[in-house]
């Protein structure tokens, strides 16, 4: 990382927390709490998420089980807590994987230009023109349902967004004197792309990644809801909503509470990312 960008981050940080909106603060608390819970679910879950207790089936929320119980008497709060770990892990995984595929393609296309650029970007345009989630559903079905395959499928359809963004940024950076200087000093293409372009192209990409976490949370949950992601008895949040759907007229809490957890998580990431975007780069707009 260059000194300029380090100083930039320090400056953003100093101004940053002071300039978070009240909603941003609440979101930050939710995100940090969700992160801690996701890292140590067993420390927070009152019971084993898989422990069956048939005498206490479908009990409404009470002092003993604050989120109620499911059709096998499992404690719903414990299942939601472990679900946060699965959903959050999968979503971060999707965003990282997508960025990992898309960014190198974008940088290569932007820096090398010419035929490489044309071919890669036409391919990207085509993927962008597909209804992406429909395509991802088809890919998951073929690969076999499961959280891991859902992650791969989403990365396969979403990479062009990162490639386009990285390419656009690199096209601007490529013309700057420091790239020319590096090239004049004998740095090869690879060195310039990895050492100089990647770190300096990172701000808009980081903003996009933070915005995409919540998109990924919703996609993961939707895939699990449709039976393409995590399968029962896994407590992934979307999968919990599906499991509760069979009982939802008599046990409102079973679908409602895990779904509310999805909404809360995705809302917190969205509003935090929104503030982050304003702080890091006020000119960006999505």
């Amino acid at each position: 990382m260059t000194a300029a960008s380090r100083a930039g981050i320090r400056r953003a940080w100093r101004r940053g927390l002071g300039r978070l909106s009240p909603l941003g603060w609440v979101s930050l608390v939710v995100v940090v709490a969700a992160g801690v819970v996701a890292l140590f679910p067993s420390a927070f879950a009152p019971r084993d998420p898989l422990a069956i207790d048939v005498l206490n089936r479908l009990k409404p929320p009470s002092a003993a089980a604050s989120f109620g119980t499911d059709e096998l008497g499992r404690d719903l709060l414990s299942r939601v807590i472990h679900g946060v770990r699965l959903s959050l892990g999968a979503s971060l995984g999707i965003v990282l994987l997508t960025a990992f595929v898309g960014i190198p393609i974008g940088i290569v296309a932007g820096y090398l230009g010419r035929a490489v650029d044309t071919v890669l970007m036409r391919l990207a345009d085509m993927f962008i023109a597909f209804p992406s989630l429909i395509m991802a559903m088809a890919i998951v079905t073929v690969m076999g349902p499961g959280l891991r395959n859902a992650m791969i499928a989403l990365a396969l359809v979403w990479w062009p967004q990162y490639a386009r963004l990285a390419r656009g940024t690199v096209l601007q950076l490529r013309e700057l004197p420091y790239v020319e200087a590096a090239s004049a000093l004998g740095a090869g293409s690879l060195r310039i792309m990895v050492g100089h372009l990647l770190p300096n192209a990172f701000t808009p990409i980081a903003v996009k990644m933070s915005l995409d976490v919540s998109v990924a949370i919703l996609a993961t949950a939707s895939f699990s809801f449709l039976g393409l992601g995590a399968a029962p008895p896994s407590p992934e949040l979307g999968s919990l909503v599906t499991q509760g759907r069979n009982y939802f007229l008599q046990a409102w809490w079973y679908t409602t509470l895990p779904g509310a957890a999805i909404l809360l998580l995705s809302l917190a990431f969205n509003s935090l990312a929104d503030d982050l975007r304003d702080l890091l780069d006020p000119t960006l707009r999505y």
């Binding site: 023109a129 209804p131 992406s132 429909i134 079905t141 073929v142 449709l226 939802f248 779904g259 999805i262």
Partner: protein, 335 residues
């Protein structure tokens, strides 16, 4: 203009060809044998072999691919492996239901999204702006399948205001088929009871499907309008004494429209997958639910046909969006 159209239409067909290719490749990767799947476990080896040679399934993959692309180009998507009916007939049966769902939810998200965004820009920095921002974030963060279930719980189970599933009350039979959209067909037949029932069934799924787009439209409206409101001609309009209301709606909004229209067009692709979720939750007999069921049964002729249809509609709508630029803003030239 002409070259623009030619280029865009060519790209549209390349995109659809890409969609066919990707789904074809996926179909060949499925471990199950399509001939065996079509004939069932009781078929003899020779029946399976005969089926293969009749359908060209014993040919090399590139040959199969070219034949398939040729068939799709003629509008022949083959037969569903599960129902054995021509896929094109099934699509024709299910697509109207999806269109009937998509149009009201798109209208809901445009009317409320633009309204929310205009209010936020107009009352920038006040509590109105904050509330609007929060509502649009909630819209953006909404798991729509869950919202659908909650709406059913509240408005069907608890309040009994709206039906939970289907397109019509079970006591009624559908209106005579004209467009396939029950509300319109009911009006054409002059049947107010049918129109009421169809509209009544539409409310909850349309609301559920509209939330994400509503949030995005509201945000885009706000930021695009704020850009425009700081421009010189808006200052001129204000300084010549125009009412703020007229500056906003007549001068600013029209110029802020291009990014809003763009984002609506781009949202359509996501609304197809939203339709899969909504139709599943509300037992809505649309093409999304049909295609998804087919997907689970590895009924690939149906899946490919649906993907091609969705890609085509998406590309076509976005072409219309691009064409609308020069109508919205006559300075825009399409080249």
């Amino acid at each position: 203009m002409t070259t623009f159209l030619i280029r865009r239409i060519a790209f549209m067909f390349v995109t659809v060809l890409g969609a066919v290719t990707v789904t074809f490749v996926l179909a060949t990767m499925v471990p199950s044998d399509p001939a065996r799947a079509a004939l069932g476990p009781d078929a003899t080896e020779s029946q399976v072999a005969q089926y293969r040679s009749e359908r060209g399934l014993d040919q090399p993959l590139p040959v199969q691919y070219l034949r398939y692309v040729g068939a799709v180009a003629r509008g022949d998507f083959g037969r569903s492996i599960v129902s054995r009916t021509p896929v094109i007939d099934d699509l024709a049966r299910f697509i109207p239901a999806t269109i009937e769902l998509l149009i009201p939810s798109l209208l809901l998200s445009i009317v409320f999204g633009v309204g929310l965004g205009v209010a936020a820009a107009f009352y920038r920095g006040t509590w109105v702006d904050q509330v609007s921002r929060f509502l649009s974030l909630v819209g953006l963060s909404m798991p729509i399948f869950w919202l659908g279930l909650v709406l059913q719980l509240v408005f069907f189970r608890a309040l009994g205001w709206f039906p939970a599933s289907g397109r019509l009350s079970s006591a009624l039979s559908p209106p005579p088929h004209e467009t396939g959209l029950y509300t319109i067909d009911a009006l054409l037949a002059g049947r107010w009871d049918l129109f009421w029932s169809a509209g009544h069934h539409l409310v909850l799924p349309a609301v559920a499907l509209s939330t994400l787009t509503l949030g995005i439209v509201a945000r885009m409206t706000r930021s695009s309008l704020l850009d425009v409101l700081s421009s010189n001609y808006v200052r001129t309009a204000r300084s010549k004494g125009l009412q703020e209301r007229s500056v906003l709606w007549k001068h600013a909004l029209r110029n802020a429209l291009i990014p809003i229209v763009t984002v609506i067009g781009l949202r359509l692709g996501q609304m197809f997958s939203g339709a899969v979720l909504t139709e599943t939750v509300f037992a809505w007999p649309g093409v999304g639910r049909y295609a998804f069921t087919a997907l689970r049964q590895l009924d690939f002729p149906v899946v490919i046909a649906f993907t091609v249809w969705a890609t085509f509609v998406y590309a076509f709508v976005n072409l219309l969006v691009d064409l609308s630029y020069s109508w919205i803003d006559p300075r825009v030239r399409l080249e």
